[in-house]
Amino acid sequence: MSTATAIIRAGAAIPCRPWTRHVLARADWTAMTQALAGQPALALVALWADPSEAHALFLDEADGAVLVASTAIVEGGYPALSPHRPGAAWYERMIRDLWGHAALGGTDDRAWLDHGRWPHSHPLAARPGPMGPAPEPPEFLPVEGEDLHQIPLGPIYAGITEPGHFRLTCQGETVVRLEVRLGYAHKGTLALMRGKTPRTAARFAARLSGDSTVAHAIAFARATEAALGVDAPPRAATLRAVMAEIERIANHLGDVGAICNAAGFAFAPARFGWHREAMRRAAAAAFGHRLMMDAVVPGGVVADLAPGGPDAIAAALATLERELPELVRVYDNHASLIDRMVGTGILAADLAQRFAAGGYVGRASGRAFDARRLPGYPPYGSLEVAVPVLQGGDVDARLRIRLAEIAESIRLLRVLLDTLPAGTLTVSLPMGSGEGIGCAEGFRGDIWHWLRLDNGQIANAFLRDPSWAQWPLLEAAVEGSIVADVPLCEKSFNCSCSGVDL
């Protein structure tokens, strides 16, 4: 039997930059899904659709090759990937709700984004259907056992968070199962992007998940540039990286504070929050916006560094670098705090591998993937980004990955600012057609955007947030924990609702 890779490569090639897309006949697609069982190193990164085809993006962990496979929708469906790639189940539910394509033989066909409240079902299909019946009460997976009770949480939480519903089934204090129900933040982003120019559509990509606005904007810009066969000028690429590293540091600082806060340790959010605010202000001084929203556009960046920008960034980094070792010592020396972190919410390495978890979730469980190194994109090629990896898989490991990444991003930022190339900030985009894929490493992990341009307008697009891989793993990591540790696990994963709700 040939490998899934060979089957995909044998499919008809459709121009898509930088990775060719292969269209597989129904029989070949079915053979490919079955061959996946024997090729565990071929990770499913994303699964999405358009009105006439289903698309899958794979990454070969053995050699770093990226493979894109498609198959035509026949009689309203396509053979499912979820029997051999469990991470595909959420995508298949999303595809059914948005395009109406059924995953034949899939492991889960419950509604996902569609809560029966939109004016019509299958909003992205060529012909949207009538309004679906409200799936109330939502159907949760069955749990069997004695003396079980349920704790429903959300979508409105007792905190400043995103809207999602957590259904905890517990036996006494022990969590038997966590099931997450999302879709509350579904804003119809993909539909809004259709028919827009890349420049206009970039505003939606920048608002898929506000905390990763720079990283999503970079992935979208790179996908557009790939589709049109242009490259952003070197100065723009470097400025993008400066913004991305500031975003990474600021979010990691916030996360470390939030994780410690979930254990009731108020000192950490106070100090880490102070440094995060300093980073946000440096971003505002350098790029005119605290989150740097809409600063990255297809073709380049909107503006150059403000005159006082490099000094503001350098000052924030210096203050952070001075206090960071002391903050880490405080963390290390609080036995009651460490006791809550170590051994809590362990994510097994094989699960992280099977779901191709990126970012701190994957790296804390032994998966070293980082899109800045592989497949890599400018300006990271010459920077030799150090990627920390731990094997523990617990809350403590996910926190320490963040601390190590903060230190590495400080180093990268200094190099980037010292070696900022001169030159223009944008390249003009031709009014063309084509397909492109862009990726970027956000603070949560690898982000992938695919889009098809038709005469300068978005015909179809899909934006893949790292949270797609991380939500199901949170469900797995929480299993067997006590209820009081659920917030710790949740903060250490910090998955995005908006990012996967689309």
Partner: protein, 176 residues
């Protein structure tokens, strides 16, 4: 190490920044909006409940920033509470997705009168970039499609300073 930190805090003072001056016009306009009952009952402090109606999470980042020691909210009498039943103000972010309309209405109903609703950010104000989507409540635009809005703080997202000024103006107006 603790003593060193205590010493440094004594020497440098608190991390909180001095408060900025409020715009008189904004305060007067808000004061006119409030009914007399609210003024006598709420006094000079406000309990705030955040409600996410489908935001991109950018607004939440800035609420977290406002919650930091740099802004030190509680010195103004402002604090975030965990339940709408304890709240005077609902601080709503997001464009109000259809999937969250019912949750917002439940939260609003659970908040005792007198209460205020603050629409935070361009999305909550008028739908923002998501205006016109099938997944967003149509009508007045933003959260006004479901609940009466007392104060709008636009921005994408508003800065913590803008947010703080809006909330303090509400407090000032309330005390008059």
């Amino acid at each position: 190490m603790v003593w060193r930190r205590v010493f440094r805090t004594l020497r440098d003072g608190p991390a909180a920044e001095p408060a900025a001056k409020l715009g008189e016009a904004a305060v007067r306009a808000l004061a006119e909006q409030l009914d007399a009952a609210a003024q006598t009952r709420l006094g000079r402090s406000l309990s705030i409940r955040h409600v996410n109606s489908g935001s991109c999470n950018g607004c939440e980042l800035e609420i977290h920033a406002l919650h930091s020691i740099v802004y030190d909210l509680e010195r103004f009498g402002l604090r975030f509470v965990a339940s709408p039943r304890h709240a005077d103000v609902l601080l709503v972010t997001g464009p109000l997705t259809r999937n969250l309309r019912e949750a917002l209405l439940h939260t609003w109903t659970a908040t005792p009168d007198p209460k205020w609703v603050v629409a935070m950010g361009d999305c909550a104000t008028d739908g923002g970039v998501f205006k016109g989507s099938y997944a967003i409540e149509a009508g007045a635009g933003g959260i006004a499609a479901a609940v009466p809005v007392d104060l709008k703080i636009p921005g994408c997202p508003p800065t913590p300073a803008q947010l703080l000024n809006g909330l303090r103006a509400l407090l000032e107006a309330n005390a008059r």
